[in-house]
Amino acid sequence: MHQSVRVGLEEYLADTGSLSEEFNAHLKACRECAEELQSLREQARLIRVLRSSEAMEPAPGFYARIVERIDRRVQPSIWATLLDPSFGRRIAMASAALALAVSAYIVSTEPFRVTPLPSSAIAIQALPQQDTPATVAQDRDVVLASLASFQEN
């Protein structure tokens, strides 16, 4: 669109009738501008479809309903309280303190058990004694003597 038409565009679309001679002369000579102006006029007409055809008033009690809505937003919900950063920080601190107290209690009440090292004397005593060949022979003799005495009876 040429500059001379662009300058008077709003007056043209508003139908104020105060268009310059230069504007009108250009419009007669320039087909491109005339066509574009036609499209813009159609577009403006289309936008005016959004004009409200009737005067509207809200139903009685409208202000009270707005105040109610505002109050609902002002009163925090339980979720809002929980998600509040300062409240969350306090919860986290309290949880950490509780965890620390519980671990201290567990550590202090745990019975003290010492697992002896395998090389110590106590460990050697605690190990199951392995049977030596001498003790095995002794046991065999005891069994045989018992059997012999049983047969004699």
Binding site: Q3, R6, V7, L9, E10, A14, S20, E36, S39, L40, Q43, A44, L46, I47, R48, V49, L50, R51, S52, E54, A55, M56, E57, P58, A59, F62, Y63, R65, I66, R69, I70, R73
Partner: protein, 220 residues
């Protein structure tokens, strides 16, 4: 609203002085009312509601043509005004600011409605969707088309392609019928800036409409 940054001025025509259109919104009676709300004066807020409720309702109804949802959106608009009035910086008139909030709420509503519709349609099987689509086409060919409704849907879609500021300017100009001079006073931008912004917005709308015509698909 933004200032004049990045805007090419129109050549100044006529003898109308630009400074004449500048209005200081800080010293108006309205500004005093705003300051009272900023100080949490409930009576002042009530006054704002009573003063602008009819305007807000008519803007919403003009865009949506839906009585049922108009009340809910209007409540939301005034709740938003209540919570954000602390940020109102008097750079524009209170009406312009309220107008912007109202139009934005309407567009939020339309977007949510579109998403709900998509979710609803996704619940259908492919076969159901195809059947519905075919029946829609059959109906469209024979039933009388509500031209005004179709035009409104089209222009709302096209306006969605503009920035918030441009959309409000176009609506204030065409729907509310304000002159460039009045817009200049309401927004504290000079008349040339308003003209440039309107021109660019109109061009953008034309291009979006042309793309829509070429593809036959909604502009994305």
């Amino acid at each position: 609203m933004d200032g004049m940054a990045g805007v090419l001025p129109f050549p100044v025509t006529g003898a109308r002085p630009q400074a004449k259109t500048r209005v200081d919104h800080r010293n108006s009676e309205e500004a005093a009312l705003v300051r009272r709300i900023q100080d949490r004066d409930e009576l002042a807020f009530r006054e704002i509601v009573e003063r602008y409720q009819a305007k807000v309702f008519s803007i919403i109804f003009g865009i949506l043509r839906n009585h049922n949802d108009a009340e809910d959106i209007a409540q939301q608009v005034f709740a938003k005004i209540y919570f954000s009035i602390g940020n109102f910086d008097f750079r524009s008139s209170l009406l312009t600011w309220i107008y912007k909030i109202t139009v934005n709420e309407c567009y939020d509503y339309l977007r949510k409605k579109r998403v709900r519709k998509l979710v609803y349609e996704s619940d259908f099987s492919e076969e159901d969707a195809l059947r519905m689509e075919n029946s829609d086409t059959a109906t469209d060919q024979h039933a009388p088309v509500d031209t005004v409704l179709a035009q409104r849907d089209l222009i709302l879609k096209l306006l969605d392609k503009l920035s918030e500021e441009d959309r409000v300017l176009i609506l204030l100009k065409e729907v509310e019928g304000h002159s460039v001079e009045e817009l200049s006073r309401m927004t504290r931008m000079n008349e040339n800036t308003i003209k440039v912004k309107l021109f660019r917005a109109r061009q953008k709308l034309l291009k979006a409409a042309q793309r829509l015509n070429r593809t036959g698909q909604p502009v994305t």
